[in-house]
Every structure is written in C-alpha cells, then in structure tokens.
C-alpha cells in the first residue's frame, strides 16, 4: 500500500498498514510525527521524556498510559485537546493495522453493519432503554458493548449507508437519543429528561469507532488517515483558508511583540541611580562608588489602539483579525480594542476577561453592540466616534492599527478626521484584507486614507508575517524613529 498523501501535501508518516520499524519506540516516534503533522510542536526532548515517563509507570491502565504521554508531549491546553484526538485515532489505527496484519477478525456477529438477518433478534425498545441508562450512568464499557449491539440491530434492518458519519446519526436517531427532554415518553423512561450532551457525544464516538472497525475488517485495509481539522472547522473560513496557519503566525507575532523593545534597553541613559546596586558595585573599588548603576527601566510598552471592522464585507477576514487582536492583547497591557460596523464599540474588557478565542468571538458577536442596523460600514462616523472616545488619550507614543477593507458603501470617508487621528498618534497602520489589485475599485477608498498611514495588504499569512516584521523591526517603543 502506498503512503497516502495528506491534503496538506506532506506524505503521511508511515504506510498505515505496514509494521512500524523499531518496535514500540518506533510506534511512539510515529505518534510524535503524527502530532507534529497536526501542528503540535513535539520536540525530541519531549519524546525522550515520554519514554522516561512510560518507564516509570505500569502499563496496566490505558488512562495512565495516556496521561503519562499527555504530561510530556503537549504543552498547552489546546495542544492537549489535539493530543487526545490524535491519541485515540493513532492507537485505534495501530491496533486495527496490527489486527489486519495478524489476520485477526471477529468470529461471530457483532459490529457489522452489513450483516443482515443473521445474529440474534434484538428487542429494539429494550436496547434503547439500556443505552439511555448506560449513557446516564456513564459506564464506558457498557456503552461500548451496547454500541456494538446497536450497530448489529441497525445492520439487521438494512439501513446502512456505508458512510460512517451518516450511519452514526441514523443509529442515534433510530434509538431516539436526544439531548432535549422528551415529555411524551413514559415517566420511568430514562430518555424522558434528555440525555446528557457529553454522554451522547461519547456514545456517538463509540459508534463511529465500532463502525470504522467493521469497515476496516470488511475492506481488509485502513482508509487513508485524514488530518483533523474539526478544531478549525468551527470557525468560518475565507481568504485565509488555513486558520491553523494563522494561529502559527499569530504565535510568532506574540513572541516577537513580547521580546521586542529589549534591544532599546540599555542604550539610553536615564537619571535614576540604583543606590543598592551602586553600593554593591562600589565594593569592587573599595567602597568608592566609581561606577554608577542605574535602575533598570522596564521597556515602555507602547499604547496600541486597534480598530477592527466586523461588517459582512469582511466576515471571513474579521475572524482572522480578531485572532490577531487576541494575540496582541496577550502582549500589551495598554491596549484598547474597538470593533466597528456602522458605529464603534470598545471590546477591551471582553479580551481582558476571556482567554479562549472562541468565547471571545462569540461574545463580540453577541454583545459588542456595534449598532449593526444596515450592516454597512460607516467609516466617517466611526472616525468621529473614535476621536471622541480617545482624543485626549492619543499621544505620539500611541500606535493606531486599523483592520478593514476601507469600503465606505458610498458614504463620506471623512479622511480629514482620520488624518487628525493619524497626526495625533505616533504611528498608524492599516491592514486591508483585499488584494492590492482591488484597492480603490468600487467603493474602496483606501487611497484617501493611505496618505496618512502605512497600508498593508493582508490576506495571506505570509503578508501578515511581513506586517509583523515591519511592525516590530524598527521597534514600537522609541517614537524617535519616526
């Protein structure tokens, strides 16, 4: 079997059905490789730690085994989530591949969506009850057995579509499992109050797993592995297709922003003598303070104002912009964020209280209150409101970043107000999610604003990187560079 190609164009780590060389260590390396393909940065040292951790524990419980790997390989909460998914998938596939190699398969009926008519008659109503009870009692082992029974019963009725995802939903529906309360059922039915949502999800996962196992057994080969992207799929995609790539760039951005400004330190002298350190240094000259020590000054972080267009014309890009905003908030204490459509609304608080990017975007969508009457951006109004909000705070050390497409929908761009803002602020940047080709066509008035700020086209991650470079290279801190 040839190595399946992942959609990202990189070859899959190993031919899935072949034995991995190097025994268990090889398996572990393959697992690490698979994690890397999903964007979890697994270093060699992490893999060494994993091996050391596995040596320290008993291998009798799958949970311990997984937790030991989880403690050493992923280093962030979101990586941990990816890890769980990849772990399940990897070891399931590894087990299935081994079963194929050794030619092990199930003797009697059971999980087999295509076996019609054979196997014991199942009382569907009783099965429904038991499954609902098992889910509510959260009994994993029982749920797995019942999932197999359900698939068998389902197969008997000959409704298998052959597509795993479709079958899972069909089985779930035919079992009458829902999260919502079903008041028409008798009061002693466990499904009456609705099934807990996570329980339901786990049961679906088990169904999927068993169906896949049956399919693999039927086809005698593993389907090509797909890179998981359900983490990203929840977010709308757009010109910036690969949000994972965006997140990577944003991570770089975050690091650069966090470390930049350090170079400026030490070059400038300032007046605060650190008495303690001077005394300490004077010891080397016999108590005479020859060398004056200055109190180290924290690099003065610039104040940043970010305005982000969230109107429909930039829907896809605004998700990306919001994630940039989110990253910026990690690095700057003095940062105020605004979103705008027709009017402007400050969202600094939302970013300050929420860590999770998805909740942030939900909350902004829900209660930012940008007075979205027409859904059309009104830049003129936005500028004047922005000026009213921050006029007194703007100073030459402030940086203003606007994220938007500069499409005014025929309204007055009021570049004069924008010019006023740009003049008061130290630096002004504009990130436009449209290719430069489309600038100033139709109702785009970017040229009117470009006179007062530095505009960047920003619709690929590479361009975002360019912007980050431009933003950080001269250093945001010293206003003197302007």
């Amino acid at each position: 079997m040839s190595a399946p190609q992942t959609p990202r164009g990189r070859p899959a780590p190993r031919p899935a059905t072949g034995a991995v060389p190097g025994g268990f260590a090889g398996q572990l390396l393959a697992f690490g490789e698979e994690l890397r393909l999903e964007g979890v940065a697994v270093g060699t040292s992490a893999l060494l730690d994993a091996v050391a951790a596995l040596e320290a524990i008993e291998w009798t419980s799958q949970r311990d085994f997984r937790d030991a790997l989880a403690a050493t390989l992923p280093k962030r909460q979101d990586e941990r989530r990816v890890f769980e998914v990849v772990f399940d998938r990897f070891f399931f596939r590894a087990a299935a591949a081994a079963a194929l190699r050794e030619d092990v398969h199930e003797q009697d009926g059971g999980a087999g969506a295509d076996r019609e008519g054979d196997g014991p008659d199942l009382d569907l109503e009783e099965l429904r009850r038991q499954i609902a009870e098992a889910i509510q009692a959260q009994q994993e082992g029982q749920m797995r057995d019942l999932a197999r029974l359900a698939i068998a019963a389902f197969g008997q009725r000959g409704q298998g579509s052959g597509v795993v995802g479709v079958d899972v939903q069909r089985i779930r529906r035919s079992l009458g499992l829902q999260a919502e309360p079903q008041t028409d059922l008798p009061p002693d039915d466990p499904r009456r109050d609705g099934i807990p949502r996570d329980g339901l999800r786990r049961f679906e996962a088990l169904l999927r797993r068993e169906l896949e196992r049956a399919q693999i057994e039927r086809n005698r080969s593993l389907p090509p592995s797909r890179p998981l992207n359900e983490l990203d799929r929840a977010l709308p995609s757009g010109p910036l297709q690969d949000l994972a790539a965006v997140h990577r760039v944003v991570a770089v951005l975050r690091r650069r922003l966090a470390t930049q400004g350090m170079q400026a330190r030490g070059h400038r002298h300032h007046a605060h003598v650190d008495v303690r350190r001077t005394m300490r240094a004077s010891l080397q000259t016999g108590g005479v303070p020859v060398v004056l020590k200055y109190r180290p000054r924290r690099p003065r972080r610039p104040e940043i104002y970010v305005l982000c267009d969230v109107s429909t014309s930039v829907t896809s890009a605004s998700v990306f912009f919001l994630s940039v905003l989110h990253a910026l908030h990690d690095s700057f204490r003095k940062m105020r964020s605004f979103v705008f459509i027709e009017r402007i609304s400050e969202v600094t608080d939302i970013f300050a209280t929420e860590r999770n990017f998805r909740t942030v975007s939900e909350r902004i969508g829900k209660d930012a209150g940008v007075a979205d009457v027409s859904g059309y951006t009104d830049y003129g109004r936005v500028w004047s409101e922005f000026r009213a909000l921050v006029e007194d705070d703007l100073h030459p050390r402030a940086t203003v970043i606007v994220l938007g497409d500069a499409r005014t929908n025929g309204r007055d761009p009021r570049a004069d107000i924008f010019a006023g803002i740009a003049a008061k602020a130290g630096r002004t940047f504009w990130l436009n999610p449209e290719p430069r080709l489309y600038w100033n066509y139709g109702d785009s008035v970017i040229a009117a604003y470009e006179r007062y700020c530095t505009a960047f086209e920003c619709w690929t991650t590479r361009q975002l990187e360019d912007f980050v470079r431009a933003l950080t290279q001269p250093g945001l801190a010293p206003p003197a560079t302007r």
């Binding site: 320290a56 524990i57 311990d64 030991a68 989880a70 403690a71 966090a258 300490r280 108590g287």
Partner: protein, 307 residues
C-alpha cells in the same frame, strides 16, 4: 519521612492522607515529577488547587516547601541570591588596616556574605525540598530565561563564587494562570498538568473532606449549585476554596436546605464581583425553591446520599 513513591497510586493515597484529593492525572503527573526529576508546569483557572497541590506534595513527601511568589519586576536579587553588601562593607572597614587586599577580596565573596533567596535556598538545601514557583506568568520573559538554568540542571552560577550545584533534587512545581503565553524553552523543560474545575463527585468529596459535619444532601446541593454558577459567564467563577468556604458558612448558619433566601444571603461568599452578583442572582437564584414552597415539598426533594 517517606522516600520516593513507588506508583501513582501511592501518591494519590499519600495526597489524600494530607487532605488533598487529587484527580487521576494529577496523581500520575506528581508521581512522574518525583520519578523523572522534572519540573511540573501546572496550569488552570484560578482557585482549582494549583498552589495547594504543592503544599500537599510537600506535606506528603515530608519535605520543606520553598515558595517563590512571582510578580512583575521580580529580579535575580530577589529570586536567586544577593550579596549582603552591608556585611561586606563592615568587613572591609573592620579590616581596612593591615590586611592585604587579596585576602579581603577572597573573604567578602564567600558564602558567609551570600543572602540566599528562594531558588538558591531550594538548590543548596541539605534536605530535599519542594520548590513552588507560583504564578510564573506574572514575571517577564527575562526572568523565565534565567530560570532555565535552575530548572534543567539544578544549578546556579554566581560570577564571584562559581557554580552552586544542587545537593539534593528538589521537586519543582510552577503554576500559571495562563495570563501570558510562556516561552517554549521553559515549557520544553517541564511536564505539563492542566488542572480544571473538578467533576461534581470529586468536588463533593472535597467539600465533604473539609466540612464533614455538613449534611450530605446539603453538600450535594451545594456542589450542584456551584457547578451551575460556573457555567455562567462570570468575571470570576467560584473556586474550590470558595465552595469550601461556602460549605463552612452554611455549617455555621446551621442550614438544612439551600433555598433562595439562604442563597441570596450567603452569595457573597462565592461571588466577588458586582456584575457577577447580579447575573448569578438572576440566573441561579430564581431557580431555587423559595422557603415557604419548600416547607411543603421538603421530603420529596431530599436526595439519597448515593444519588
């Protein structure tokens, strides 16, 4: 003093003995930390027992806990060591006449003039210790970089004195509230443990451990309500410490059943923000039965202990 544990189960049992109920992976990671000698980075929301874990681990292992509380602007002089320059100065003056410079110089940069700060204390201690570096995300990145030497090699370089190697191997815990992304270099050297709010049963157990006199039914109701409150979109969801506080408050008041009135009166124990108070009263308070309604239905509402 117990030696190093043999299995994760030992750790779990030991932590229980000292009054800390660990989750499964918590015990396992703590065990791995003692085994592999690697620092553990503990992340999670505020108030899920990150700092407590370190204290419990110290109590269980019979070790001293050395704590370094991080804050913005924390520097080497406060974390590693400092020269006791007053003493050095005195020494210079006392021996000003007649002593050769070389001798004085040798003298004043000896261990006698070193003021050890937490990291130094942990490294140089004769007995193995548990080192807790609390809220590492509050410091700046330079400090993190400085920690790398300590965390990976357990040594500190002092220019005047040379290298101080650790005599014993400390168990190191770093906690972070995730208010800032930590550097890859630091993370790479650590085991990772994510502590989340405990499950209902787990929290019930914790509350029962800390307030054993509280009736089971009330305790169950309490953790259920806490769970509901945490679901809400709050500035600061109640921590485990606050559920314990609440349990003790209810115990003090001799409450038999949590009804809407009791809830509103004692709400300030678990919710500490003006806006949060409003949200919780509105969303959770109204769902609770009122006292007079309850009087009639008291029997039916009391749950069995194993429910």
């Amino acid at each position: 003093m117990p030696g190093l544990p043999d299995s994760a189960l030992d750790v779990a049992a030991g932590l229980r003995r000292v009054g800390y109920l660990p989750g499964d992976s918590t015990a396992l990671v703590a065990f791995l930390a003692t085994r592999l000698g690697k620092p553990v980075l503990v992340e999670g929301p505020a108030g899920v027992g990150k700092t407590e874990l370190a204290k419990a681990l110290a109590a269980y292992l019979g070790r001293e806990l050395v704590r370094l509380q991080c804050y913005e602007g924390l520097d080497e002089a406060k974390a590693l060591y400092e020269w006791n320059y007053r003493k050095q100065l005195l020494r210079i003056q006392a021996e000003a006449d007649g002593t050769g410079w070389d001798r004085v110089q040798d003298d004043i940069f000896g261990e006698e003039f070193l003021l050890p700060r937490p990291l130094m204390t942990a490294i140089a201690s004769e007995e193995p210790v548990v080192l807790l570096i609390d809220e590492i995300d509050k410091t700046d990145q330079e400090f993190e970089a400085m920690l790398l030497e300590v965390l990976s090699d357990f040594q500190i370089s002092i220019p005047e004195l040379g290298r101080v190697d650790s005599r014993t191997h400390p168990v190191v815990l770093l906690t972070s509230n995730n208010s800032r992304e930590l550097t890859e270099a630091l993370k790479r050297r650590c085991l990772y443990l994510w502590l989340d709010y405990p499950s209902l049963e787990h929290e019930l157990e914790i509350v029962r451990l800390h307030a054993p006199e509280l009736p089971q039914a009330v305790a169950l109701r309490l953790v259920e309500i806490i769970g509901m409150v945490r679901e809400l979109d709050l500035k600061k969801p109640p921590s485990i410490a606050e559920s314990i506080d609440w349990a003790r408050t209810l115990l003090l008041l001799g409450v038999e059943e949590i009804d809407a009135d009791v809830f509103t009166e004692t709400l300030s124990v678990i919710v500490k923000h003006r806006t949060d108070l409003d949200i919780v009263t509105e969303r959770v308070g109204l769902k609770l039965p009122r006292a007079e309604v309850l009087a009639g239905a008291a029997e039916s509402d009391v749950r069995s202990p194993d429910a």
